[in-house]
């Protein structure tokens, strides 16, 4: 940990690598986030309508429930579980391959702090870009629900739009952003750790990649409970 967050050999190189990682881990994840969020947002809206069909429930409840589910859980915890699969396996396999092909040894021999050089830009880059992914997720999930309202007769557009604005609690948005930052830290550090300490060959790199996803997911779920208790009560 100390060597990862120590002083880099060259700040300029670290900045360049951080921008590269923002692009690779963050920007490249946008299409996946949009596709998943759009469909899940639509599904949540449909399911909410089916489960709230009661004369006692206001018609705007579908929009309201869809928004709160997206803000409270889907746009941060579930999204990060999905990203643990994509980004986590990517980080673990990349660093693991560098380990087994002696690229990390080559860095060390040159006098480069390999943990700092490889891991720090990934951690900083992913944490920096995570709020953007969360924002994309929220927007496209609500859009998914909106498209259900537009293209089906399950709920009217005006009621859905009213619902997603009704009884809005701003803190829920910040709560989601805060949680996602912790989860981004978990994904990037745990996956880097799994990759960095690989011993063996291709088989072990694959195993490290799986371990990274499983360990990150479990830690995200555990931390989700703790952060929810701390931030919402």
């Amino acid at each position: 940990m100390r060597s990862v967050f120590g002083r880099p050999n060259r700040w300029k190189v670290t900045m360049q690598r951080t921008l590269f990682e923002i692009n690779k881990l963050g920007v490249d994840s946008i299409p996946l986030v949009i596709i998943i969020s759009l469909f899940i947002g639509a599904v949540i809206a449909i399911q909410m309508q089916l489960n709230t069909e009661s004369p006692l429930m206001p018609a705007y409840a579908v929009g309201l429930a869809t928004r709160d589910i997206v803000l409270l859980e889907f746009s941060n915890s579930i999204l990060c579980l999905i990203l643990a699969g994509k980004v986590g396996s990517n980080i673990a396999s990349e660093i693991g391959t560098m380990r087994v092909t002696e690229q990390i040894d080559a860095l060390e021999i040159m006098g480069v702090n390999s943990a700092n050089f490889l891991v720090l830009p990934k951690v900083v880059g992913f944490i920096f870009f995570m709020p953007v992914l969360v924002a994309f997720c929220i927007a496209t999930s609500l859009l998914g629900g909106y498209l259900v309202a537009v293209f089906t007769d399950i709920i009217t557009v005006s009621r859905y739009v009213y619902g997603i604005q009704a009884m809005f609690i701003e803190w829920y948005v910040w709560y989601g952003f805060i949680k996602s930052l912790f989860f981004a830290f978990i994904i990037s550090t745990v996956s880097s750790f799994c990759g960095y300490y690989v011993k063996g060959g291709a088989l072990e790199v694959g195993k490290a990649s799986t371990d990274a996803v499983v360990s990150s997911s479990i830690l995200i779920l555990l931390l989700d409970v703790i952060l929810t208790k701390l931030l919402l009560q």
Binding site: R10, V13, M98, T101, E102, A106, I109, M110, G111, V112
Partner: protein, 256 residues
């Protein structure tokens, strides 16, 4: 010059190196030879600081690696170049990017100066026109040459090579050997090559250290090796019929 004194290294109670003494001379190709599992890779990894020996001394021109602080080790590592068995080129960098990497990290050169130096190193290893190719797009022999170019980019005083000929065809192996030998003499580098390639041993072995079961059993050059009475060395070097015939021919010629 690098001197190794009484170097011992164990793993899980099993001793791999038993008080090894060796001297690696400046401006010479120093070869460490021995069977697989004899401890030569442990010796090389200890020399470059990737492993910490249990006891002994590793003196880089009088400076003991094992008593250096982290800043001194960092400084020393900038005087070391290393050629890995699998080349260890950075996959995400082009050929030019790989050679420029140590310059970007450790030199105060301008970008133009770095480009000049990188091109000079690539030309020195007879590799022109591959600047923008990635390691996966070039052959094994070319990868080795890029790795050599990267290793000499910062004008190292010490060059370590871990089995530089593994996976190469005989012709390319000879080219790599000649290149390493030329660079060693041209720049006065202390070159240490870990190998079990007998063509390299007989071709460029100016100072050969034979490691057997963790002990340094023999030392000499590629001429003295034909006259050695060390049974383990003879069994290792002249294991094939071809090399036995070469030995007989050399001995007969010497007698005549």
């Amino acid at each position: 010059m690098i001197e190794v004194k009484n170097l011992t290294k164990s793993f899980d109670g099993k001793t791999i190196l038993h008080g090894v003494d060796a001297t690696f001379y400046t401006g010479k190709t120093n070869l460490i030879i021995g069977q697989s599992g004899s401890g030569k890779t442990v010796l090389v990894k200890s020399l470059v600081g990737l492993l910490t020996p249990d006891s002994g001394e590793i003196l880089y021109d009088g400076r003991d690696l094992l008593t250096m602080d982290s800043d001194q080790i960092k400084q020393l590592r900038q005087e070391i170049g290393m050629l890995f068995q699998g080349s260890a080129l950075f996959d995400s960098e082009t050929v030019l990017g790989n050679v420029m990497f140590p310059l970007v990290m450790f030199s105060d050169m301008t970008k133009a100066e770095m480009l000049d130096r990188a091109h000079f190193c690539l030309e020195r290893v007879n590799l022109k026109g591959a600047d923008n190719k990635y390691p996966s797009e070039i052959s094994g022999g070319m990868q080795k040459r890029v790795a050599i170019a990267r290793a000499i980019a910062l004008n190292p005083k010490y060059l370590f090579c871990d089995e530089p000929n593994s996976g190469l065809d005989p012709k390319t192996s000879i080219l790599i050997d000649e290149l390493l030998s030329d660079i060693t003499h041209e720049y006065g580098i202390t070159t240490i090559i870990n190998t079990h390639d007998m063509n390299s041993v007989l071709g460029i072995g100016e100072n050969i250290i034979f490691i057997n079961k963790g002990y340094r059993e023999w030392t000499g050059n590629n001429e003295a090796i034909f006259h050695s009475a060390n049974e383990a060395l003879n069994q290792f070097v002249f294991a094939t019929e071809l090399f036995q015939r070469v030995k007989e021919y050399i001995m007969n010629t010497a007698h005549k």
